[in-house]
Symmetry: C2
Subunit: 146 residues, 2 copies
DNA sequence: CAGATAATGTTTGAAGGCCAACATTTGGTA
DNA sequence: TACCAAATGTTGGCCTTCAAACATTATCTG
């Protein structure tokens, strides 16, 4: 399967946080796809559905902030969700620059189903650590970006 | 700066490892660019230079394995490094399918300079945690992908 | 040895992200 | 009030990545 016989020397790469962060993220996202993929929901789409569901009527800018995505990136996320009839844009009457975002009934159903599957996914990837370790991990990760 | 007044409800997003992993990775990579950017070296390029430097003559496949990148992705990484005269491809005499990868003198110099700057970068991002916490963090991250 | 199978590097196409530039709308201020 | 600055959403260009298809070369197997 792998093509390393003489074993690669990683030098100090294994001491770099960025290296491990990237690999962990790739692995976790892959498991997410496997667990939730039947709904055709990616981590990014779940994030958007979750925040919209808990904050109906919010603007695209607020959502982009919450997800730490660029405004322009969010446009295509919402385009995709709207094309699948999970979300709708409505013009905000207070501020005509804004779009107010809402879940459709389909959106609410997909979100509910996805959330359940995500519970399993989180359980699976956290298998190798104790609840305390998991909490500590999240804490340390937040420390890296807050 | 930010556009949240009524404060966004994050629902259970803050309990998802993937969410924090992505945000931490983005932040760390951004700091990397700031610290090392003067050399125009990205995390991916540093990874390639590091592994090649410690394993001169290795093949593109072995390198892709080490970096957890797709073979096809690595082609463009090496294209870029070769265009900048930091790496050279040589046809392997033992296996004529393979390219053996080597650093040029320029490549060695850039790698050495970059490594120093990366030390500072790692110090900065690890500022908020103890050495034990940092080691634990890396350990937990490895647990997610190994 | 001959033919099938696998490994290697490459190209192409698609997805998802960023940034810069833009039009529209709002809000502050002189 | 009239102007200038900021906020909002969108578009287009670019980069990085993966996956699939391909040609070339090596290797295994009958």
């Amino acid at each position: 399967m792998s093509s390393s016989l003489p074993d690669v020397d990683f030098d100090n790469l294994h001491n770099l946080l960025g290296y491990h962060l990237r690999r962990a993220q790739v692995a976790v996202f892959k498991d997410f796809e496997a667990a939730v993929g039947s709904e055709s929901i990616t981590p990014g789409l779940l994030g958007a559905l979750t925040i919209i569901g808990a904050n109906e009527g919010l603007s695209q800018n607020m959502l982009a902030d919450a997800l730490a995505l660029d405004r322009s990136t969010l446009v295509s996320v919402i385009d995709k969700l709207e094309a699948r009839q999970l979300v709708k844009r409505e013009k905000s009457p207070q501020d005509r620059r804004r779009h107010a975002l809402f879940l459709t009934n389909d959106g609410r159903e997909v979100l509910a189903r996805t959330k359940q599957k995500v519970v399993e996914h989180e359980k699976k990837i956290s298998q190798g650590m104790s609840p305390e370790e998991r909490a500590k991990l999240i804490d340390l990760l937040r420390g890296l970006y807050k």
